[in-house]
Symmetry: C3
Subunit: 157 residues, 3 copies
Amino acid sequence: MAVHGPFIEEANINRVVLSRFMPDEDLFESLKKIAKDHGIERGVILSAIGSVKNVVFVNVRSHAGLPVKKEDMMEAEQPGPFELLSLEGNFFPSQEGGEPVIHLHAILGTSSGSVSGGHLLKATVFATVEIILGSLTGSSVYKVKSDVTRRMELLKK
Amino acid sequence: MAVHGPFIEEANINRVVLSRFMPDEDLFESLKKIAKDHGIERGVILSAIGSVKNVVFVNVRSHAGLPVKKEDMMEAEQPGPFELLSLEGNFFPSQEGGEPVIHLHAILGTSSGSVSGGHLLKATVFATVEIILGSLTGSSVYKVKSDVTRRMELLKK
Amino acid sequence: MAVHGPFIEEANINRVVLSRFMPDEDLFESLKKIAKDHGIERGVILSAIGSVKNVVFVNVRSHAGLPVKKEDMMEAEQPGPFELLSLEGNFFPSQEGGEPVIHLHAILGTSSGSVSGGHLLKATVFATVEIILGSLTGSSVYKVKSDVTRRMELLKK
């Protein structure tokens, strides 16, 4: 674990990748494949629209403090399908190497017109996901386990 | 209808258009006007914030399968006004020509602080909508009716 | 107050800033600091993900008209913490000078899996906020008080 601090760095998004994910694709695996095949080390979702099913997400319990304990994360598993109303997030390399660390938050439309969502752990494409991913260049940050939050957080080396 | 498959293509967003939509403008018509006047063939919403009224949106019923039947789409019509909390989406040319196919998902804040939303069919500007639209170049995808979803989906020719 | 009209202008986002905000930072103050330190006159949030606490937001009451009266804005103050599921918005200079006018809409995940949110007045970072801000160049719009909405709206001079 490392001591983390705030940082601000200038970067560029000179290249984007447009993709359509097909029914039954795993959202996380499809993102990793794009990252690998197109040499995108640091990526950010600029736009995503579509529908998903078999979704697992977590939210933090009210009045939780830092570091967030496991029992403070409320997990929801929902079959759906749902309209994917918003997908925010990014991926960065881990300091230890290996696969990129993907951080995604999803917002889902339900058949009642109400909306649910959270920090995404798993999602499968229902009909389609149209995604535009930006390749972030000029950045030198990594995901490193934080001594404060006990999660993988961005750290500028 | 056509057999669709996944695709990934490299593209660029070198040009953006900033616009303010005024009260009572139709969101879809205003987007089409920008596309036409500024020669944007393929566009993606990079940011949108404002408020809307007279909104119609749909969500898919739980446990629906593919292709989604008409009775599996739950329509909601709401006068609002609502804060426009998120607007995701894009437009691409149809293979058959004519107007671009606009695909939008909206998330709306209600006066109780709860949130609703879905796949957007209609919305009118309430006080303002500030929108930043990216022009996607280097792309060669079109919207074509899919044999699987029976909707207009992205297809790389 | 000024008479406002629609506008469309071509602009560019050639430079982005990536930042991590730390626990207990004020979201608005941190954005202002980036704007000042990095000479970003007009900025747009391209991506934001993280968690927040001590949030104040407003939504417009159903059936409200223009100009929106103070009693038509419903204020919610919530301690959280919440997953920050979406943060949309921008900042532009005021015509009168001084600090930039920041316009933010936030969507928050609650421990029940439901979602709340609105026009953001205040938020403090809980564990982290990872933000990618685009610097908008080629734009000449300002925030000016509108005669119609009685709020600060975008105006092209």
